[in-house]
């Protein structure tokens, strides 16, 4: 029963975001601020994770391909497809659920318990539209870009690791990259990225927006937000894979 109440309240929050902005300029400013916080704020961690994921993929794939019958360029193909299909969208978004999700939940939670949201409501501002909407839209814009960035860095990391470990040359890797490339995989990855972006931003926003209590509850809601986002993200990953592949 509680689950249905929560789902209903979540849907009402989403519905409540759609109203005419009181001042478009202020909303735009807030959107740009969120783009900077979510996008540029996560750039470092995404870069580090992506390079290492690509590098480890190359080394582990090479380790498993023991037969000389399979050409070395296949390693590059496997790394490319794994990074594009799974690592860049899913793993990066799981990390972002922690980084961005906890930030959104704690920011809104703090605003709720310190009555800043009430102060905005009293002024006649639709807080769902002003506080939640820019975060979701900024996530929908920035996270897919981060995923594309992650794909590029992941493949580059694999390329570097392959040549540094003496597994395969850069030329062989590049040859493998171009073999049997399916552009639909990128579309699939982006479809996942958009779905995950919405989950990563809206679920923590819900937990933060409706938090009750004090500092302890903000921490709890932040943890709940990250855990729920991760579970929903993995579930969505499965559903999208089953539907689109």
């Amino acid at each position: 029963m509680k689950l249905f109440t929560e789902i209903g309240r979540y849907l009402l929050m989403i519905k409540g975001m759609f109203s005419r902005p009181e001042n478009m300029k202020m909303y735009w400013k807030e959107f740009m601020h969120q783009c900077s916080e979510i996008g540029f704020g996560s750039l470092g961690i995404v870069a580090i994770i992506s390079v290492f994921i690509g590098a480890v993929s190359t080394i582990q794939t090479a380790y498993q391909l023991v037969t000389p019958l399979i050409p070395l360029s296949t390693i590059a193909q496997i790394v490319r497809d794994t990074v594009i299909l799974e690592f860049a969208p899913t793993l990066v978004c799981i990390v972002l659920a922690g980084v961005v999700g906890s930030k959104i939940a704690s920011e809104l939670g703090n605003m709720r318990v310190s009555e800043q949201i009430d102060a905005l409501e009293i002024m006649g501002i639709n807080t769902k539209a002003y506080l939640v909407m820019p975060k979701i839209v900024a996530s929908l814009v920035m996270i897919p870009l981060l995923v594309i960035f992650s794909m590029v860095l992941g493949i580059l990391g694999g390329r570097m690791a392959g040549s540094a470990a003496g597994i395969l040359s850069v030329t062989t890797f590049d040859k493998g990259l171009l073999q049997e490339f399916v552009p639909y995989n990128v579309f699939f990855a982006l479809a996942k990225a958009y779905t995950f972006s919405f989950i990563i931003s809206s679920v923590p926003a819900y937990y933060g927006y409706y938090v009750k209590g004090g500092a302890l509850e903000i921490g709890q809601s932040s943890t709940k937000a990250v855990v729920t986002s991760c579970i929903l993200l993995l579930f969505a990953d499965y559903v999208l894979s089953a539907l689109l592949l």
Binding site: S19, E22, N23, K25, M26, N110, S114, E115, Q116, D118, A119, E121, I122, M123, G124, I125, N126
Partner: protein, 277 residues
């Protein structure tokens, strides 16, 4: 004028406000007093629309606020300023940006005009030259004054203050009381203050509403409160021996049995030491 009729509000089956009705006097300081948990804050939050009452009506100058939709309420809300118990300043913004926020949102004034208005209200609350400070750099009293400045920057018709003296030392409390009273008169605002500070009751309460366990127990002015025979009210207000003595003295003064040597303005006015900033 703000009026509320037969307000009832419950949370999880527990009645917090029980059939409360009263009329907040226009252009005056109206105080809602009562012990912790008596329903003062809930009543105030119902009045400003943060909580929906289960039953009853809230009227702003005769307009039924409870029956309005969000769009209609926005018009009334633009005439409301509110000072929260914890000041509710936006942590990430400087004092200037905090106060300028309503101006940015609801006016198309030039930056200079907005800055001038911010400086004007900051000067009014005696916080000149604090524009660039952040809330974390301010004392409790200063935060309250910035909260008041933000609440009045759009020239509201109604000012709500939720426990403006909580967590403040007696001198700063007096300064905040004085400020609220002065602003009420100067801007001709209908002010509603939630408090359990006895100084506020005696010094600024033009109209006092006493709440007890969610019900209206007593109403009257700060003159009438001294002569009230209401047992619960007397127990709440004049709880200590010191306050009982003060009440006796005030009664004697009011009835002319001893001369009134006090000057209310001096007590909360010019002779008060200023708060260190």
């Amino acid at each position: 004028m703000i009026e509320f009729k037969n307000i009832r509000k419950s949370f999880d089956g527990r009645t917090v406000i029980d059939n409360a009705s009263a009329e907040m006097k226009a252009g005056q300081c109206n105080l809602i007093i009562g012990a912790s948990g008596s329903g003062k804050t809930v009543l105030m939050k119902c009045m400003v629309g943060l909580f929906e009452p289960d039953q009853g009506e809230i009227l702003y100058s005769g307009q039924n606020f409870t029956a309005m939709n969000n769009k209609e309420r926005t018009v009334i809300r633009k005439e409301i300023g509110m000072l929260f118990q914890g000041s509710a300043l936006f942590d990430s913004m400087s004092v200037q940006r905090n106060i300028m926020f309503p101006l940015n949102m609801f006016t198309d004034w030039s930056y200079k005009k907005k800055t001038d208005r911010v400086n004007e209200v900051l000067e009014r609350v005696n916080l000149k030259d604090t524009n660039k400070k952040f809330p974390s750099e301010l004392s409790g009293g200063m935060k309250k004054r910035v909260g008041i400045a933000r609440a009045i920057v759009l020239n509201p018709k109604y000012l709500f203050c939720d426990e403006p003296n909580s967590g403040l030392d007696p001198i700063t409390s007096l300064l905040i009381d004085k400020l609220i009273k002065e602003i009420t008169v100067e801007y001709n605002i209908t002010t509603v203050v939630n408090t359990h500070d006895m100084n506020s009751v005696m010094e600024i309460g033009n109209y006092i509403l006493y709440m007890h366990k969610g019900k209206k127990e007593w109403e009257g002015s700060n003159k009438e409160i001294i002569f009230s025979k209401n047992h619960l009210l007397n127990e709440f207000i004049f709880a200590s021996d010191f306050l009982k003595d003060a009440k006796e003295m005030r009664m004697l003064e009011e009835t002319g049995k001893i001369p009134n040597l006090r000057n209310a303005d001096d007590r909360i006015g010019h002779s008060s030491p200023s708060e260190p900033s």
